[in-house]
Amino acid sequence: MTNLLEVRDVVRSFGGVRAVDRASLDVGAGSITSLIGPNGAGKSTLFNIVSGFLRADEGTVSFEGRRIDRLPPHRIAQSGLVRTFQTARALGRMTVLDNVTLAAPRQPGERLLRNVTRSRATRLRERDVRTRAHELLALVRLDGHAHEFAATLSGGQRKLLDFARVLMTEPRLVLLDEPMAGVNPVLRGELLEHVVALRESHGVTVLLVEHDLEVVMGVSDQVVVMSDGAVIATGPPDGVRSDARVVDAYLGVEA
């Protein structure tokens, strides 16, 4: 399996605290990889570095063989590596449909001067984008809410909207930041199905952050465990669960 994402010896400090301390990890193409660890382990910091929202002090991040650690977040997203946030970021005073159509790549009408000429390419692209957006909203069963403000959605519906929006960007690697956090068990199951469907139906590779190992056991091909800023174990879920260092550093505390 080739690696889609390669993180090598990444270091990031805040003041005197090394939030990420020489962390390395690989995400194989077509895999579902889970990054787990207790609160404060550096997962979110590493996530922000990979997605370009934070700069690494040292180390490299490569996506599809190209260095991305000096790119701004929007360029990383354009290259096919798209993230979500821990709390779903619905754009409240825009309609649910607009939330999804916004995410479409290659819309020439997003360039200011293109609109002066009202180009045909913009209109044609917009038609395709809307069709696709309705399909994706149907997939997450939000099509009934397409024309409502996204702020009227419940917390769980916003998580679903996030899925539709991410898929609209046509990603090759999706970074999900605790997609199951703060949702009820029923919806948790549904979200987990969507995570699996990302790979099975859409061919997208997934890296997800979670602090509860049990949640991701069943779906992960590979688990990366972080503690105190360092990666302490990598491997298939069963192997990681029985790893003594993991039990000590992490599972022992929570269990």
């Binding site: 977040p73 005073r93 607009d98 916004l102 200011l112 609109n115 403000f149």
Partner: protein
């Protein structure tokens, strides 16, 4: 009371409301669409007025060339402000914009040789020579009045200002419905989420500032043409806040709310000049001037209390996060 029934007076009120409309459209793009808190908007109006006047008087340019150059200068001013400050957090950005507008005004006051200093444009060509940038505009206005058989020069100006103001309002209203406008609205809602979807937030904010500043520059042109003279005192921070009042009065995020807000504001502002009836006659004229500002304040507070979303806004949008 006779002034209140004079057409000339209301034509003047209408012209000023038209100029405020153009000025406030700039804020609508910057704040209503992109969420940028610009409290120094008047600076770009000043840049527009001064660039035009200086190019005509000092460089001998035709007004017809100087005017578009002035709009470009205003837009460039917005870009420079943006490059320097847009990476700041929203509240810090707002503070810097106030400072910028004061810097522009102080430069206009103190760089006598460039701007005529505190005496304004009358002093543009130096102390010996009275200067005038407005000849070409006046001729155009006369021609326009004649061509359309309009009753007076004031009415000609009224028609010109509002033709431009309404055309610009229509453009601003159309722009927000394009994919470009959709990205701006997304930035207003959540910058990081917009970034994470592959949009270059900084570039869009810069474009919003450039367009907003260009609109302020156009307002500055009409201001200069209408009054045929101006000085740094005309671009006090108060004008920025008038524009904000109009924006809030009309409705944030809706282009057509801007001319409505500007007209309501213009009528309140002008109408309160003529409190020549009890109880206002109990006070002398100096006291009445302050009373007028208090009445304007009360009317605005009343409007905000009963229609916090503005005259054309949708109330439910206010309670959405």
């Amino acid at each position: 009371m006779s002034v209140l029934t004079s057409g000339e007076f209301w034509a003047f009120v209408g012209v000023v409301a038209g100029i405020y409309t153009i000025l406030t459209l700039g804020l609508q793009i910057e704040f209503g669409y992109a969420g940028l808190l610009n409290f120094g908007h008047v600076a770009f109006m000043a840049i527009g007025s001064y660039t035009m006047a200086i190019l005509v008087v000092k460089s001998g340019w035709s007004m017809w060339l100087a005017a578009p150059a002035a709009v470009v200068a205003s837009a460039a001013g917005g870009v420079i402000l943006g490059l320097a400050t847009l990476r700041l957090r929203a509240d810090y950005f707002a503070i810097v914009t106030i400072a910028l507008s004061e810097i522009v005004r102080y430069i206009a006051t103190n760089e006598d040789r460039l701007t005529g200093g505190s005496q304004g444009t009358i002093n543009l060509a130096g102390a010996e020579e009275a200067s005038d940038y407005n000849g070409e505009w006046q001729r155009f206005q006369d021609w326009f009045q004649g061509a359309l058989h309009l009753g007076s020069k004031d009415v000609a100006m009224l028609v010109l200002v509002w033709a431009v103001a309404l055309a610009l309002t229509a453009l601003v209203a159309l722009s927000i419905r394009t994919p470009w406008g959709r990205v701006l609205r997304a930035i207003r809602e959540d910058e990081d989420a917009t970034r994470s979807l592959g949009k270059n937030v900084f570039a869009y904010k810069l474009q919003a500032l450039a367009l907003g500043s260009a609109l302020a520059g156009i307002a500055g042109l009409f201001y200069a043409w209408q009054f045929a003279f101006f000085s740094p005192a005309d671009f006090a921070p108060l004008l920025t806040f008038f524009a904000w009042m109009i924006l809030i009065l009309g409705g944030v995020g809706r282009a057509w709310a801007v001319p409505v807000g500007a007209l309501v504001f213009g009528v309140i502002f002008a109408g309160t000049r003529f409190f020549e009836f009890a109880p206002f006659t109990w006070f002398d004229s100096a006291e009445r001037a302050y009373l007028r500002l208090m009445v304007i304040g009360l009317v605005l507070i009343g409007l905000i209390l009963f229609r916090p979303q503005g005259l054309l806004g949708k109330r439910e949008e206010l309670v959405l996060e």
